[in-house]
Symmetry: C2
Subunit: 296 residues, 2 copies
């Protein structure tokens, strides 16, 4: 986008005002679904208002189109740059909380959710008590992670829930971004036992920068913002008869908790990594329990 | 997007209200340009308000991300699907008019502009009086097109202005979309003579549908809208010392003048195709004169 200081420019007072916007909205036919009509009406109104309020020029708009096309061109089954573009303006966090809030209002206070992020992929089930780290780096701190999945309403344990986790390695890369990591390194699915419990070994997560080789990195640079995310582990927890949960847990001692580049931190998602004794595999442990809301 | 009727859903009243949005906006660093800060502040505010007002869900947002990525993946040097997505919600027309209005307010009333559209490409100069149609279809009506380029302030003719034109064939396809058309068929650049005049043979334009094989077509279908554009010829007119003009002229007798799928029609851009006598090459003619605003 242009870098000239133009905040003194007069706002647009041309012919394409509210009547034009109303005309575009009203062009939707009778076969549009009510929800599509609602969403797109509000979207078109806001996008047009944005253009008019900022006096957006053709060149500025075309720069944005090129960034959006670039995002699509960089996206594949291993990365989602369109999603990342939304993440850095806080949009994924916002729609995540909107969706979570709807679940809460429908009567079930479940564990707080957080964004999926662009690095999830399908991964095989592993046995409880095993490690997701296949080639642990020298600078990593192994952690024993464990917890219980319970019914948010009754408090009873949920057996056969799947806990799907993924985390970046200490070099800041997820396995699909890094040729030096084994397939499915630092990710795995665990199934809760009859007590609703799961357990595994992982690494203490470390802060990392989101990829800066695409339009998201370019936009962060234009916004004079850093690329760092606080240390976290991603989780998706699913169980039959319950609403699925997508979340992240954050190391309460991490840097960037207050300025996450994708605005995903919530207070109730921070956890403590504590000392663990008598275990050759890990000197740290973390407990993370999950409450799932029943489908009503 | 989901098709459930949910306009009765309560608006979002969760934790990520205005404070969250202000925090995202304020994350911009001191190195951001004033214009980037202005544009992105207003953009982030509108996008967040849109999500909150519609109670946008993660699934709906993810559908939109996938459409945006799809748009980028379909875009190349021959088509721009990201641009087309903007066109069908009226955004290109709007930013075009905003930019034109800025030119008018800076003191020069020039010929009304219109959107570039996604099918322009660089093309060679042709001699005045020649045809841009290299293999005229049987159902086409050849037209003699001519006009004068003048200074919007003084009214004097402008010599050596370039008039760059392009139009779809009667099958609704531009040459780069159609393997059966010769390279640069139905497009060409003409240079005005010492009287500011240009002339050429082209085809009477015909309505055509915008491409429906990508996300724009999908969105139009979801919005229950048709894909048709009224009959038009695209032009870019450039001259040294003058502001360039991008426009379209519309056949005043065409269908779809009132419901152009990309909202590009303006009253002062319609032209009459009239009878032409004594010319073996064309039974119709059209005159189109252009006023260019001097660079001040």
């Amino acid at each position: 986008m242009a870098s000239s200081s133009s905040s003194t420019r007069k706002p647009y007072k041309g012919k394409l005002g509210q009547d034009f916007t109303t005309n575009v909205i009203n062009s939707m036919g009778p076969g549009t679904s009510p929800r599509m009509r609602e969403v797109m009406s509000v979207f078109i109104q806001h996008i047009h208002d944005f253009a008019r309020e900022t006096n957006l020029t053709v060149d500025e708009w075309m720069s944005a189109v090129q960034m959006i096309n670039w995002a699509g061109q960089m996206s594949n089954d291993k990365r989602n740059e369109g999603q990342l573009m939304c993440d850095i303006i806080g949009l994924e966090s916002l729609v995540d909380d909107i969706t979570y809030q709807s679940a809460v209002e429908s009567g079930n206070a479940a564990t707080a959710s957080a964004i999926l992020g662009p690095f999830w992929r399908e991964t095989p089930v592993r046995a409880n008590g095993t490690s997701i780290s296949s080639n642990t780096p020298a600078d990593a701190s192994p952690v024993f992670m464990h917890g219980k999945v319970t019914d948010a309403t009754t408090g009873k344990p949920i057996a056969n829930a799947t806990v799907d986790l993924w985390q970046a390695s200490t070099n800041g890369l997820y396995e699909q971004q890094d040729d030096n990591q084994a397939e499915h390194n630092l990710r795995g699915k665990f199934v809760t036992d009859s007590n609703g419990e799961y357990s595994l070994y992982c690494l203490r997560p470390t802060p990392y920068p989101i990829p800066n080789d695409g339009p998201s990195g370019k936009l962060l640079s234009l916004l004079d913002r850093h690329e760092w995310r606080p240390a976290h582990i991603h989780l998706i927890v699913l169980a039959e008869g319950y609403k699925g949960l997508t979340t992240q847990i954050f190391d309460q001692d991490s840097k960037y908790l207050n300025d996450d580049s994708v605005f995903a931190v919530k207070d109730d998602l921070t956890v403590a990594f504590t000392e663990r004794k008598g275990d050759d595999q890990a000197k740290l442990e973390v407990e993370y329990n999950v409450k799932l809301a029943p489908v009503v």
